[in-house]
Amino acid sequence: MKIVVARLALLALVLAAWELLPRHQIVNPLLLPPLGDVLGMLGELLQRPQVHLAIGVTAAEVVVAFVIAVPLGAALGVLIAENEYLGDVFKPVLFYVFSIPKSIFLPMFILVFGISFAQKVAYAAFTTTFVVMLSAAAAVESVKQDYLLVARSYGATRTQILLRVYVPSMMPLLLEALRISMIFNFTAVMIAEMYASRAGIGHLIAGWGENFQMRQLFAGVILLAAVAILFNETVRTLEARCSTWRT
């Protein structure tokens, strides 16, 4: 309870500072507009059809990339974890590639796909697949051999072992993988939009930044932060439900 109060106090403090410091010219309001002005701008922006369109484009990119990357990455991850040969061959390479910042490949995606919806989706899916793949492989490897042995000793079929042992055993790690890969996915779409694009929230934010429209810029930041936190917390709630049996 005390912790909750302290957290709320911290939040209130930050928000109050954001409102009061620029308002009293302690911080330059041109660089950091007061919170009230930003929220007012956010309300105004949410009325504009142009912003609606941008939100739609970005949301579509995020969702399509995620829907491609998660099953693809999960399948590849399970494959390299389950097949010893493929694992030995591919895992080191994948770890090397994983360590490279994916954004340096962005120019290549533009060359191949042009500045388009497909380019954003392809780039984000590319980035996200790696995260999902490595997390899924880790999830498979986290399943204790004892659990499999027990199931086999009771005559479980392959399908039963998959559904009744692997899936529940991996669930906490899979949910975490989902959450973290969405962070990467969202980031990738934003980077791609801010780097070069004609639509989307990232495009608008980049434009506002370049034109020194700080109220719009911060309104965009609040909007994105709200969406990202909402998704993250939803999955975390699911994770917490599984955490009772997390070992």
Partner: protein, 273 residues
């Protein structure tokens, strides 16, 4: 009277019957530095309803032997018969395996863990959900955990987890139980209590038990017969019948007979390099 006569007859039949017969079993596995002989010419015969304990140094192949008896690992040369038939694959109707405590599924309650083997039979079995539940509950009661069915493993103590594990092994009512160091992770006191509990459960179910342990005291306390294995390659180097009366009690541990048996096993084990 009829009941007593039945019991006596069953007892006779039991003693004649051989539950497990292993003849000239050898096993070599492929290690990183070439072939490693794991088991060498193992022969053993376990009468139905008997409690046999296998002791031996780490890495002597005790667990390999047990896995082969369970049909969980392909066997090498030689024969293994379980109630007269080979056991190439796991057969939960004939053999139940009880593992160390960490083998309970943490995402299932105690009762669901016990029911797990039954639920696998699913459509193959005519038993209804209610009947399965009843049997799982009966097992929970047998191991003294009535009222703890809805707890998750992480909410149970080490000893309680092992009770659940035993109940899970018993729920399909297999005539043979194989136990691989089931109490190894428990503290000494809990371990003794669990050994005593196991004997109580065993005496009410008339199962054949093959039990692996590192503890010499536990071996003598539980067994009808102790088999001592040598270091790799595992061979049976001594067979020690334990003539202590049943039911066993903690007081017996202080007797000379108990001490001598324990000493004999110890002398055999320390001979092995």
């Amino acid at each position: 009277m009829q009941h007593v006569a039945n019991l006596a007859r069953r007892e006779e039949a039991r003693q004649e019957q051989v539950a497990i017969e292993v003849a000239n079993l050898s096993h070599v596995y492929a290690g990183a530095q070439g072939a490693v002989p794991a088991l060498e010419d193992i022969s053993m015969r376990v009468g139905a309803g008997r409690f046999v304990v296998i002791v031996g140094p780490s890495g002597c192949g005790k667990t390999s032997l047990l896995m082969m008896l369970a049909g969980l690992r392909s066997q090498g040369q030689g024969t293994i018969l379980c109630h007269g038939r080979p056991i190439p694959d796991p057969d939960p109707q004939r053999v139940g395996v009880i593992f160390q405590e960490a083998s309970l599924y943490p995402w299932l309650t105690a009762l669901d863990n016990i029911e797990f083997p039954l639920s696998l039979r699913g459509a193959r079995d005519r038993e209804t959900r209610e009947e399965r539940r009843e049997r799982a509950e009966a097992m929970l009661k047998l191991v003294g955990l009535e009222g703890f069915g809805e707890r998750y493993p992480h909410e149970l103590s080490g000893g309680m987890k092992q009770r659940v594990s035993i109940a899970r092994g018993l729920v399909q009512d297999p005539p043979v139980l194989l136990m691989d160091e089931p109490f190894a992770a428990l503290d000494e006191q809990t371990r003794m209590t669990m050994g005593h509990e196991l004997l109580r459960i065993w005496s009410t179910t008339s199962k054949t038990v093959v039990f692996i342990t590192h503890s010499l005291t536990e071996a003598v306390y539980l067994a009808d017969e102790v088999l001592v294995m040598s270091a790799r390659p595992g061979r049976i180097i001594d067979r020690i019948p334990v003539a202590l009366p049943r039911p066993r009690s903690y007081e017996m541990m202080a007797t000379d007979v108990f001490g001598q048996l324990r000493e004999r096993i110890w002398q055999q084990i320390r001979k092995t390099p």
